[in-house]
Amino acid sequence: MKRVQFEHSAVPYLFIAPQIIIIVIFFLWPAAQAIYQSFLLEDAFGLSSQFVWFRNYTDTIVSASWLQAAGFTIVFSTLVTFLSLAIALLLAVKANEVIRGASTYKTLLMWAYAIAPPVAGLMGNLMFNPLIGDLYQGMNALGFDFDHKLDPYDAGFVVVLISVWKQVSVNFIFFLSGLQGIPKGVQEAALMDCKSSFRRFWTITFPLLAPTTFFLMVINITYAFFETFGIIDTTTQGAPGGATTTLVFKVFQDGFRGADIGGSSAQSVVLMLMVLGLTVIQFRFIEKKVHY
């Protein structure tokens, strides 16, 4: 076959230039900086630095506080991803069945989408305030010995709750449109083939939602890893005793509060590799089970 040859011109490059420039300035350059700095040890005032090879990495990975943050991040991300997907799916399935006032339900359920994570965190902060917070006092009135300032599990509960609440609306929108994309005929055929609506959901609806679920899983894991920073920063700030410190929050703490640029850069590089690995796993193994 003969290949069509276009005249070389700068125009195509011009078209992709804005995207390329953004990637270079906001991703490649900072990433390169992080890799470079992760090999340096700097004094507290940033006046001198020295090349230390992998010492920042070895220091990071063996440190108890990093391991604690890594452990919390895994538990936290799993909980946030699973719960926000499950609750959103349940709400979407139920909202999809509603006929009267459907648009009102949908609008109300999507509302929280408009709230930025730090704002969600501030709202959570108020609700869990020991003096005026309804949720704090309600929990104690119900007989739980609830104190998220002291108890690591209670603190974890607070950040998971706020993170899930904030994310459910996003997932809800996608699940709802996914549900509406399932052909009506297929649903009716299933209605004639299977009596149990529970079984129908797991054998027909859920498999057909798999592309949506997979996409949302990727989005939600990223959210739980990175975007929940705003929520943690405005509520627990990693306390008590680092029990709610995620890896991203620790990067920020060590780098900007602790002025350990080298160590914090090493942590970000490790984090970057973790996310890379996670993405590869997701696309390699899970996507194979998804029917588009």
Binding site: P183, G185, V186, E188, A189, A190, L191, M192, D193, C194, K195, S196, R199, T203, I204, P207, L208, A210, H291
Partner: protein, 358 residues
Amino acid sequence: MAQVELKQVRKTYPNGAEAIFGVDMKIDDGELIVFVGPSGCGKSTLLRMVAGLESVTSGEILIGDRLINDVSPSERDVAMVFQNYALYPHMSVRGNMSYGLKNRKMPADEIERRIVDAAKMLKIDQFLDRQPNQLSGGQRQRVAMGRAIVRNPQVFLFDEPLSNLDAKLRVQMRIEIKRLQRRMNVTSIYVTHDQTEAMTLADRLAVINEGQVEQMGAPMELYSNPRTLFVASFIGAPQINLIPVSFDGTHLVNGDLKLAGFSDLPQGTELVLGVRPDVLRVDAGGQFGMNVDLVEQHGGENLIYGSLGGTTTDAGEPLEICLKAAQAMLPAIDDQLTLGFDPDTAFIFRKDTGERLK
């Protein structure tokens, strides 16, 4: 196998729109009934009410002796073939066919036996492990039928199953459906808007118009003895020629056109004369003239279209008329033909009620 009975079945949607106005019908065991009508007439709604996909507002639907108004669709012992096949996209052909049986807790060897039998019958046995998106339209249609057949239901429901296929495949599948239905002898209801499909498939035909059954009977009965103007105009291709006329005591009159040979008709009411294209013939001693403006050659026969001399419609144009003629009859454009017909073969309807008078 069972008979199906509809008693004063009505459907009103929650917003007040009425779709079905009291349908009574008895479908015999093993019969193939076709619901035919224009789009929006309620034929699909009626079928979906039998399937259980639409609720019944009032009236009774019985399969065998069982009242099924409030029985869930999966327990009515009916199987449906959908217009767009509605195959489960994430299951293989085998999975599609076995799904309904597994849910009914049928033993695996029995399921496999039924699938193999149905697949052989439909010539899809080499595709059993394919996914639906790897099949052509015709093959998907067969799988959809296979999914219904393995259920071995008391009633088959077909909702315009051939309308997504190309013309050639449609004819082929039509013949196959008829053969299968004959062979399995299962009571079937088939919905279509295509009158050829309706005529060729049906044991009996129900012409549905605006939520009511206009007439029900054998296809030829409806063709040669339509009870209303609607049935006459819906059944038959090419469409029956309809000529608005009035009766002056001796002749049917439209403008300069006067037709003798009619009697005992009401005077002063608007009438419609219906003449099938195949009873019109070229006849030098005929009653009216036609100015040819189009000839369609169909091979064995020609359809000649033209305007009817001396007549005008409300829009002031001459009436269009169609004549079915033999292959040898090939007039040129603008030729004048003189046509005639036997008054006994024509129908006369009241224009206002559509009721047939003669």
